[in-house]
Symmetry: C3
Subunit: 472 residues, 3 copies
């Protein structure tokens, strides 16, 4: 297949069905182990290895992908088991499950339905679609399964064949669960902490001083000064690395990163502690912190994951009643090329530095992320995620970035989920969508089937390992 | 079909042609009655039921979809029959029609051509494509048809099987035509007024005081104060509702809606009447009015239709000569999530309140409109319209929004047209495009054909009824 | 085919493969002569007709499409033969070629690989794909070919069947090479200069005064005043036109074009020469100059090509070491409709004026460029270029603009390349992608095959001739 034979039909439409090609590609990756370098499964869940709670508490209530569309159809979050105004929910798991089953049709055409179909069928062995009529029987079947040892978290971890699972953790975390898991020879998955320091950047947040105190206590370094905060963060990064961390995660309002002089930053730090920092100064402080995170990454090699451009807690009344992560974080306009100039100017060609860019605004895929990743050796195009982790959107992502950066500068799939049981379904969907995309390139004679298969394999194994510096 | 059977080929490309599936889906909706909840047909036209004027005055001159592309190819608007500088056109209908026919190829690949093909063929029974050679003969055939009773407006209304037709009306309108139509038992279509109060928001517009005077006269409530204006608007909304209105319509430069205190709004109202309002104050006044419209909708249940982001009258010389709506309104950057915060904060979860969002910037479909409609029970994703009411754009819309909100939070098709005879062609195109999209989901084993058919039916009947609170 | 027969399956998916249709369309255009109205081939190269240098200096080092992705994978620009800090490169052509061949897989799925496949195969007659194993042998084969008369620039120009080739030239250029080529009867290609006056607009650039001096010398008109600069530019435009120029080219940071009074512009000109112009004033000066360029185009009929919205030299350290055009020019947010108002207000309906709009932000295709070209007779939608000149992006362009403007207001393909040997491959790719798109319209019964073929022919011949006012 090393012949140069530009096909006479290249770029013209396919002659035959792409399905047989796609099937062959997919067959090569279908059962490969899962690398999950970015997600929100709790390490404690795995360390404790306790039984999962009831079906609703496992599958509905904590998953804002599910609750948001139920809410959009008129179901209050309280009826879905979310705690309101600090009061524990009194709605039973069975009632929540019935609510979900009665509105199953809402999810038609969404990835949530597809994940549930895979998960209910392949993890729990159910055979019927959710409906009001079958709600109770399905509930009982899942509940029964959760009572068995085969459904303990670690049994599932093994069954799902997850080779690497990265969690998301606060820098003040003592990582006790990660230590337990590391020291347990029966755990064959690499479970890696990820350093997410967002709250230390927000100098005008009411809880900022409290956050500093917690970090100071964890690192045993006073954070009353800016220099102290940087030292504590560096200390904790080293601690995270000692427990296997290979990456950090930063969710910021925007990607601005203009550095400040130490003196200027120190002055803002003091003003923030005195509650006299202005909103603009707090932004400058945050921008400088992002720059410092990149600087630290260029020193210690932790891969920086960056996802700016989300409007958090869009509906204040819901936030006030139910708290954060309840489905009303919304995409903002994405912007990378201009705001990231300071970081890329200073670390963009530093071989130690690496940054993976994620967006919920798909216009940036072809306009900013691919062009950046197509020049800077340190920049990688993160997989489409959150609102965009669905078959058509994933396809658009590949179509938007491949012509600029091929496959080598894309991150490979990340599941980004707190829904543990959906992990195999999510990775499987991504493998299928990539197989379909690769098959379309083969069918249009853009690439050979041999190259397509090699690429599919690369995307599920080498891309995540290389991008996130994962253990093999 | 209630079995959980995630297909082994799901998300892979289709094995067989999607056409047979699409045909079966389309066959189920092809002849269903039309619900047209948003358009610009004149109620007076139907009340008077007079013969349509000549073919050009019916099909060319008033339709900026048609004239804009002719103008772009170098034909002056005057040659297309538009009145220039207040002078009546002296170009004959036949000359205008010839101009159009000679440039028929300009429209290749556009929906305008597709609508004409359907309309000329299926409404007028023509068999030949427009061309210079056949222009006169086609003109005569249409003109002859227009002279017959079968082509009177109400005969067509019946023939088109339009179950609901919403018009667009000024709050100062006395709705005499709507009353006539309501009281005429031979009219089986529900013809509903829509409350469009744009001009009352524009406090620095030279005609604003005149607008207030007209509203005051209609409502018999003095509009010299802000409180009076609100009272008059409320009064007229109730009047519109008494004649069947279920919705309002707001076309605004942007979706900003920060409320003002009554005292502040009253002060700006006074300044505007004294012609001392500044441009920034006029914007504040407009933003407050948009908020008040939402507040009124939350009280009276009229569905708010909102389409911000159009640059009106881009070419001032054309506006000066020919007036508004002459083809140079252009899309602006769309923005919803941030500017709409005040309205959604206060009414977003109010079950009485409902807002349908339309855009001519398709980047907002996946980034803003679907995420908003995917959380807020009050928010619905309006159909792609205006520049985007064409097969490929409609498909992109479905692909952009379905994975976030499924189908239940989409509005169903709206034709938004002043070209009465094109209504069936436009609805038919939308039904075909949706059938094709649904067939693609079936072919990729994302949904069952049974669900696809149910969804297609839902989109032409229940979605518009539910979204716009229409009579059955 | 002039019958009006809206197909019963229109807008539904295709019944049969589109390939046979696409093949028939492509066959009609495959061997048509090339019109290249916008590119960066050097006229001197053709006038001198010297042998091309070694394979790397021909194919790798000067082409930032190639070097940027190699750089993104960690290869320094110095290793690719780029001159660093003014020092000539010491890396041999063979070493550079080996580097490229060893990383051939990086380009999988990109147009660069596709162009290379065509070019190596069809221009150089190679049969093997680049790889480390075959690097030397491929190098030798290309190098041998370059030593033969068949590979002299003019022999290739003839072989490529290029009917028109526009270069890009500085207004101070004496166009000696163009004169030589014009006066040589053996040159059958029309080789036209293009007037690119960007540097004269940048009044705060350190080299601005030097630029003025060069222009003054070329035009023999003093440029110490704004009036003098305008006169010199007008003089040189006439000179360019005398040598066949039909177009200008403007690459600007943004499309702002608010005119200044002569007195105000003169004042800024003086301040710039005194180095006292502020950044905001320099922007005003540039905006006024863009307006003046449009004014001149409306007088002399040179077609204005406009491509705003590129962030030049994003990575300052690379710019400092290697200079401009080294792969880190990045797309900015595109914006046309608002900033272009002054030019379009004053010249938008002037039949002498014509502007072709290019963008590297594809969101503007449906939102701004097509709507503008769909009203203004002077505005044409430029082909997708630079980051977007690849099969999937070209297809998205057609899908984004056709429904608003059909085909007649699109420019036809431009190759925009400095890689002379890639010209046939690039035009061939565009013809194939357009054939595929047209076939999809035929297969969905949106247009007839006869119209599709006529359109394909129009796109390769009449569109560029008409848009750029080219000689036949």
């Amino acid at each position: 297949m090393s012949q140069l034979l530009p096909h006479p039909d290249r770029f013209l439409p396919p002659e035959t069905t792409e399905l047989s090609i796609a099937r062959r590609i997919y067959a090569e990756v279908e059962t490969k182990p899962i690398y999950s370098p970015h997600g929100h499964v709790s390490a404690a869940l795995l360390a404790e290895n306790s039984r999962f709670p009831d079906p609703a508490a496992l599958l509905i209530t904590p998953d804002h992908y599910v609750t948001r569309l139920l809410h959009a159809s008129g179901v209050s979050l309280a009826r879905l088991g979310l705690s309101r105004d600090g009061q524990p929910s009194t709605v039973s798991g069975r009632e929540i499950w019935r609510e979900f089953c009665s509105r199953w049709d809402l999810f038609l055409g969404t990835p949530v339905r597809a994940w549930f179909e895979s998960e209910l069928s392949q993890v729990f062995g159910l055979t019927k679609q959710p409906s009001s009529a079958d709600a109770d029987s399905l509930y009982d079947q899942i509940d029964d399964a959760l009572g068995t040892d085969e459904f303990l978290p670690r049994a599932l971890l093994e069954r799902f064949d997850i080779h690497v699972l990265a969690t998301t953790d606060d820098p003040a975390d003592n990582l006790a669960a990660h230590r337990t898991l590391r020291d347990d020879d029966s755990v064959r998955t690499h479970i890696l902490p990820t350093f997410r320091a967002d709250r230390y950047m927000l100098a005008d947040h009411p809880d900022w001083a409290k956050s500093l105190a917690e970090l100071a206590s964890a690192a045993q370094i006073d954070c009353g000064t800016y220099a102290g905060l940087l030292a504590a963060l560096r200390h904790q990064r080293a601690f995270f690395r000692s427990l296997g961390a290979t990456a950090t995660d930063s969710g910021v309002a925007d990607a601005g990163c203009e550095p400040l002089s130490d003196a200027a930053a120190e002055r803002l730090h003091r003003k923030a502690l005195n509650h006299t920092i202005t909103p603009d100064e707090a932004i400058s402080y945050r921008h400088n912190m992002l720059y410092r995170f990149a600087e630290m990454s260029s020193e210690d090699g932790l891969v920086m994951q960056l996802h700016p451009g989300v409007i958090r807690n869009h509906h204040q009344p819901t936030f006030a009643s139910y708290g954060p992560d309840t489905g009303h974080d919304l995409p903002d306009n994405g912007s990378f090329s201009r705001p990231l100039i300071p970081i890329l100017r200073d670390f963009g060609t530093n071989p130690q530095f690496r940054v993976v860019l994620f967006s919920v605004d798909e216009t940036v895929f072809s306009r900013e992320i691919a062009p950046l990743a197509g020049f800077y050796p340190s920049v990688f195009a993160g997989a489409p995620w959150w609102f965009l982790d669905a078959p058509s959107a994933m396809r658009r992502y590949r179509e938007a970035v491949t012509e600029t950066i091929g496959f080598s500068k894309t991150s490979g799939f990340i599941d980004d989920t707190r829904a543990f049981c959906s992990i195999p379904a999510r990775h499987d969907m991504a493998r299928r969508v990539d197989a379909a995309y690769l098959a379309s390139l083969v069918a249009e004679h853009r690439i050979s089937e041999e190259d397509a298969i090699a690429t599919a394999l690369d995307l599920v194994t080498e891309r995540p390992i290389d991008t996130f510096r994962l253990p093999r």
